[in-house]
Each structure stands twice: as structure tokens, then as C-alpha cells.
Amino acid sequence: MYGKKKWYIKILIIIALLLGALFPAFPILWMVLNSFKPNPEIFAWPPTWISKAFSFEPYIEIFQSPEKLRFFFNSYLISFFVVLLTLIISILAAYAFSRFEFPGKGILNAMIISVQAVPPITLLIPYLGLVVTLHLYNTYGALILTYLLFTLPYAILMMTAYMNTLPQELDEAVMIDGGSRLKALWYVLVPTSVPGLVSVGMYTFMRAWNEYLFALTLTKTNDMRTVPVGISLLMGQHAYEWNQMLAMSVMGSLPVLILFLFFQKYFIAGMTAGSVKH
């Protein structure tokens, strides 16, 4: 590489990294600490770091409530299907954008971005009406289809960028050997796109896992609801169950955290797509 690695630069970088880490990590740490406190202590002054009444009770209460566990189950199930379908649909679409020139390509490209621009709140009533007409109200299907709309634009954009970096020769080789386009896509482009797929998958999972407004509006019974709605149900008319809310968010983000740790190698590589020049 360029220049010698000097030890003091290394120390400086580590210090900078540690200082920088305070920004993202401190609020999270504060949340985790508070989730172990009894409710009134959360607002104590001066603030307490580790509660004298340290307790796992908020966590235990969640585990003992079948209703709350159901929220987690629903969130996993919905997020799983959203990731799966987003990947399939966006691969097909990205293939079209990446390998073909066709009339309307530019318009479709712009539309995919601009349709995200309508504030969801204004869409709420017509959208709910549509979901009811399609007999999807209070179903997993409604949420899965809705989240596809949120995740597809980014997924298609990223997958297109990624496929653009893969040379055409790859798929042509298959086709020259007598394979079909779909074969080329499935056996050549998809396996080489794994990093891109993982990065899009992670993004998609987080979007689906964290969505609130439609999760609430498109469902009515608690057995169809997801973690963010479950958290809001703890915000009562008069008082909040702070510690349980915080415990639920900590628990909700743990699987995401584990997924991220597990996939992060691919994740970083996958995002490279947009930057590679052709």
C-alpha cells in the first residue's frame, strides 16, 4: 500500500472510532439500561445508570404473554415472505433494466422512484379501501404486498446497478450453449449476485420489520399484528409501560442485529454495486 503504517496513526484511528461510536451506541445503551429499571426510575434525576431494582421482569412478562410472542411470530413470518418475494420480483425487474433497452425504460425508472414520494398518510384511506375490496383486510397477505411496494424500488435500483457490473458475456455464454434466458439468469446471474441479494435482503427485512402505520391500519385483531404495533399498544391513554416497551424494542432488534452480524461480510460487498464503473 501507500506509505508506512505508523503506530500512532493506528491509535488515532482507534480513538476516533471509539469516540464516533458514542453517537450511535450511547442512545441504544441508555435504552437497554432503562429496560431493566422499574418504571418511575426511568425518569429519575439525577439519572441512575444501573438500577438498584435491576430486574428482568419486563422481559419475563413478554415471554409469558402468548399475545406478545405472537407479535414476534407475525413479524418474522411477514418479513420472511417480503424478503423472499422482493428478491424474486426485483431480480426479474433488474434483469430487464440491466439487459434490455426498451421504450419507456426511462419513464419507468423515474416512476419507480417518484411513486415513493406520496406521503403514506394521504394514501391510507384509498389504500385501505383497495385492500378491503381485494378481501385482504386483516391478513398477512395485505401486509406482505404492501411492504413489497416499499421495498421494491430500492431493491430494483440496487439489483440493476449490481447486474450492470456483471459482464454480459456471462449470460451470453449460457445462451450460446443452448440455454434460455431464464436459465442464464438463474444459473449464472443469480449465483454471482449473492452479495447483492444479501444486501437487498437485509434492507428489505429491516423495512418490513419496522413498519408501523400500515401494520396498524390493515389489521384489526391482535393475532395479526406485528412488533411495532405491539410496542404502541403499551402506550396507554394515560401512562406508558416504558420498561416493557423498551424491552420489546431491544428484543425486536436482536434478531436484526444477529442477522447483520451473520451477513455483514456479504452485505458490504453487495453494496459495492453502484460504485463500480463500467
Binding site: 418504571n39 425518569f43 391478513t139 394515560h238
Partner: protein, 450 residues
């Protein structure tokens, strides 16, 4: 680029067979793509159908949906138990649907517009006018008449244009909560009865302790602080913000005095910091942590304040009145109201269910469980085992008249928000006088009443 050119050259060298086979491949591909897309769509539809079946379920007999936020507020399982009593009596199943309180209003709006509203809905008095005018909730007067229901047993009915649209199931009074430890520390020996005494007490607390004297939640996202915490002062002195059901703000002597009184508290810095973004629940946490001596709050909060290991030494008192006021005091109330969706198939059944909830015994049970006062005047709730503070508040309640002037007003929440925003401006010194502020608010309010 280079790669593509290379391939093109290569292609030219290969004979036409390849082009033919490519053509064949294309046709083959088209079929394949079509098939796979069709397959995909079939899977989607099947999934959707499966999901929709798992979600809704088909009831054979009459089943009513009851959407409310009360279940979360009551002891666990209590509401289920109460409605199960109804199923036992009538065989009509009740499905309890719950929503976070803060979203309930929007969800009812959306539900009413799309026909997904539950049969029976929990309501807040401030929503009734809008839902009634929009035709979302049914006219209960007609239903009661059809049933021959004796409505004289109801403590109140919320009417729009002369017809009842909401019946209060439980009433929550808003007395003043006092932190006695802080008063003791500040050397205040007597509970203030008038506004001047209140200012003195608040000053003593702010000066002699780490806490503040007064707190008022003025958040504009949930502006109910205007109704519950601000107007409480006006009503306690027998004042009113309406005249013949229309806004009466400009030149309203009692209201002007009340606004100026609040400004005095702010100017003397007796008010806890951060109230402009504060909601009711934030206020309660401040009080629970002993950082404020006085607050006006719902009795429903008593349980919250008693929970955990707080050893708060509290008392209840009447909201202090204007110095020379000797009349009867009004006490702010909020209620858990109930109404029927106008698009329900089961109007009669829904009314029957409401009558069950309003029957003296059941109503008394709800009142006791919720720390509330019953909506049926014949209900005799047994508060014997209740918190002594609750009983104190009950005495105050009986000694006052219950009032909430925002109930049944058009876009009630928006009226409160306009008031809250302008009150903040006034407190910040942006207005020269209280009357100037009230004129601006009245102008805005009038638009809603047109």
C-alpha cells in the same frame, strides 16, 4: 464496451445456426417466463386467500366487534370477563379489538371511510361531533327509542343536533393532585383554595425545594392538556368558554383572568420546564418523580402513581378558584364513551350490548375497575376497598358539577390545538394581551362552527 465488441466479432464468425437457436431460445424463453410469472401469480393469490382465511374466520351466529382502548387500561382480563358475561346471557359473541389510544381516532376515520369499522366502538367525547356529521356513527336516540330504553338512568348523553351519538360508560374526574412531601419541605401547611394562595404555595415550593410548583402539558400533538389541565381552572371558578354552544372567548372576563393567571405562573418561573412538548403521560412521570408539587390529572392515573416502589405522599384537592368566587365549582371530566357504527348489520344487537354495559351492576363493576365514576346514575359501585385518595376525590366530585365543554364540539381536537399554540405564543410574550390572543383563537374556532 471492449467486451461487447469482442463478442460481436465472435458472433459474426459463428454460423447462422446459432442465431436460429437463439431465436428458438427466445420463443422457449417467452413461454417459460409466462409460465413462471403465471405460477408466481397463482402462488400469490393462493397465499392471499390462505392468509385471508386465517385472518377473518366466519362466525355462524351473531358476533359483534367491539373496538376500544379500555382493555389495556383495565386490570388484565377484566374487560374480557365483563363481555363474556354478555355472551353467557345472550349467546352473542363479542370480539374485542384494541388499538393504541393515540391512533384510535384516525383508525375509526379510516375504518368509517372504508366500511371496516367495528360494530361497537369506544369513543372520546372530542371525536363525536365529527364522526356524527360524517355519518360514521349511528344515531343512538333512534336505537334507544326502538328498544324502549329508559335513558333517564344515563348520567349524560353526548348529542349532536339534538340526537344522541355517544353514551359515557365511565367518567374520569380531573381533581388536583398534591405532593404533600414537597409542601411540607417548602413549609406550606395549608392546601391552597384560591389562585393567590396557589401562587404563594407554588412559589414556596419552587424556592425552597428542587421541585417546581406547577406543571401543565401543552403538547400540540395531543393537545388535550387544554381541555383537562387548562380549562379546569376556568370551570372551577364557574366560568365557561361557550355561549349557546358557540365560542365565547373575546371579552370573557373569567377566561381572560385564567389566561393571565397562567402567565403569572410562567413569568414567575414556577412551571416545570419543557411543558410545550409535554403530553399528559410525561407530566405524570414528572409528578411521580417528585419534581412538581401540583398537577391536575385524571383519577385514572392513581394506579399508575401507586405502582412500583414509589412512596409518594399524595393528597387530592379541588382546583383553586378565583379569589372572590363563592359559587359551585365545575370539575373537568373525560369519559370512556361508546357508540355504534352506522354501517353495522347488527344495530339492534349493538344497542343491546351497550345496554348491558350500562346496566347498573355491570356499569358499577367497570367503574370500580377503572377508578372511574359510573355512567349509569343507578349504579352503586362499591368503592369500599378503594384507595382512600380515590374516596377523597369522589367527595370532591360529588361537591362539584361535572363539565367538559369540548365534548361534542366540531373538530374538537383541532380547537384545543389552536388554543395550545396561541397560548404558547402568549406565554412567550408574542401577544400584548390575553384578549388579543383570545380574539385570534376565536377567529380560528369560528371557522369550525360554520
Amino acid at each position: 464496451m471492449a467486451g461487447n465488441i469482442l463478442i460481436i466479432i465472435k458472433r459474426e464468425n459463428i454460423n447462422a445456426n446459432i442465431i436460429l437457436s437463439a431465436k428458438y431460445n427466445y420463443n422457449h424463453l417467452e413461454v417459460e417466463v409466462m409460465l413462471s410469472i403465471k405460477k408466481g401469480m397463482v402462488v400469490l393469490v393462493v397465499l392471499a386467500v390462505l392468509f385471508s382465511m386465517s385472518g377473518t374466520g366466519f362466525a355462524q351466529d351473531v358476533s359483534l366487534e367491539f373496538q376500544q382502548w379500555w382493555g389495556v387500561e383495565l386490570p388484565e382480563g377484566e374487560l374480557r370477563d365483563i363481555v363474556d358475561g354478555y355472551t353467557e346471557e345472550t349467546g352473542i359473541e363479542i370480539e374485542l379489538l384494541s388499538n393504541p389510544y393515540a391512533d384510535t381516532k384516525d383508525q375509526i376515520s379510516a375504518g368509517a371511510a372504508t366500511g371496516t369499522m367495528a360494530d361497537v366502538v369506544g369513543l372520546d367525547g372530542s371525536w363525536v361531533y365529527d364522526f356524527a356529521v360524517q355519518g360514521s356513527i349511528a344515531n343512538l336516540s333512534k336505537l334507544m327509542e326502538a328498544d324502549g330504553y329508559d335513558d333517564s338512568q344515563l348520567s349524560d348523553q353526548i348529542r349532536v343536533n339534538g340526537s344522541t351519538y355517544m353514551i359515557p360508560v365511565a367518567n374520569f374526574a380531573y381533581p388536583m393532585f398534591v405532593n404533600m412531601d414537597l409542601l411540607k419541605e417548602a413549609g406550606v401547611t395549608e392546601l391552597p383554595k384560591t389562585r393567590s394562595e396557589f401562587i404563594e404555595a407554588a412559589e414556596a415550593v419552587t424556592e425552597n425545594t428542587d421541585a417546581y410548583g406547577w406543571i401543565i402539558p401543552l403538547s400540540t400533538s395531543t393537545p388535550s392538556g387544554i381541555q383537562n389541565n387548562f380549562m379546569g381552572w376556568l370551570w372551577a371558578s364557574g366560568g365557561s368558554m361557550l355561549e349557546n354552544g358557540r365560542p365565547n372567548l373575546v371579552g370573557n372576563e373569567k377566561l381572560i383572568k385564567t389566561v393571565e393567571f397562567q402567565k403569572t405562573l410562567f413569568d414567575k418561573e414556577l412551571v416545570s420546564p419543557g411543558v410545550y412538548a409535554m403530553t399528559e403521560s410525561d407530566m405524570v412521570e414528572e409528578f411521580a418523580n417528585g419534581r412538581v408539587a401540583f398537577m391536575i390529572d385524571s383519577l385514572a392515573h392513581l394506579t399508575t402513581l401507586r405502582r412500583g416502589d414509589t412512596d409518594l405522599n399524595m393528597a387530592m384537592m379541588k382546583v383553586p378558584t378565583m379569589d372572590n368566587y363563592n359559587g359551585k365549582s365545575g370539575i373537568g371530566v373525560a369519559n370512556w364513551g361508546i357508540g355504534v357504527a352506522s354501517n353495522t348489520e347488527y344495530k339492534a344487537e349493538s344497542m343491546d350490548f351497550i345496554e348491558y354495559l350500562m346496566s347498573p351492576e355491570v356499569n358499577a363493576r367497570i367503574a370500580v375497575a377503572a377508578n372511574a365514576f359510573p355512567g349509569n346514575v343507578n349504579a352503586e359501585p362499591e368503592y369500599e376497598g378503594a384507595d382512600p385518595l380515590f374516596l377523597d376525590a369522589f367527595e370532591i366530585y360529588k361537591d362539584s358539577y361535572a363539565i367538559n365543554e369540548f365534548t361534542g364540539l366540531p373538530t374538537s381536537e383541532q380547537l384545543m390545538r389552536v388554543f395550545a399554540e396561541n397560548l404558547q405564543l402568549y406565554l412567550e410574550g408574542d401577544y400584548d394581551s390575553a384578549d388579543e390572543m383570545l380574539a385570534v383563537i376565536e377567529d380560528e374556532w369560528e371557522k369550525a362552527f360554520e
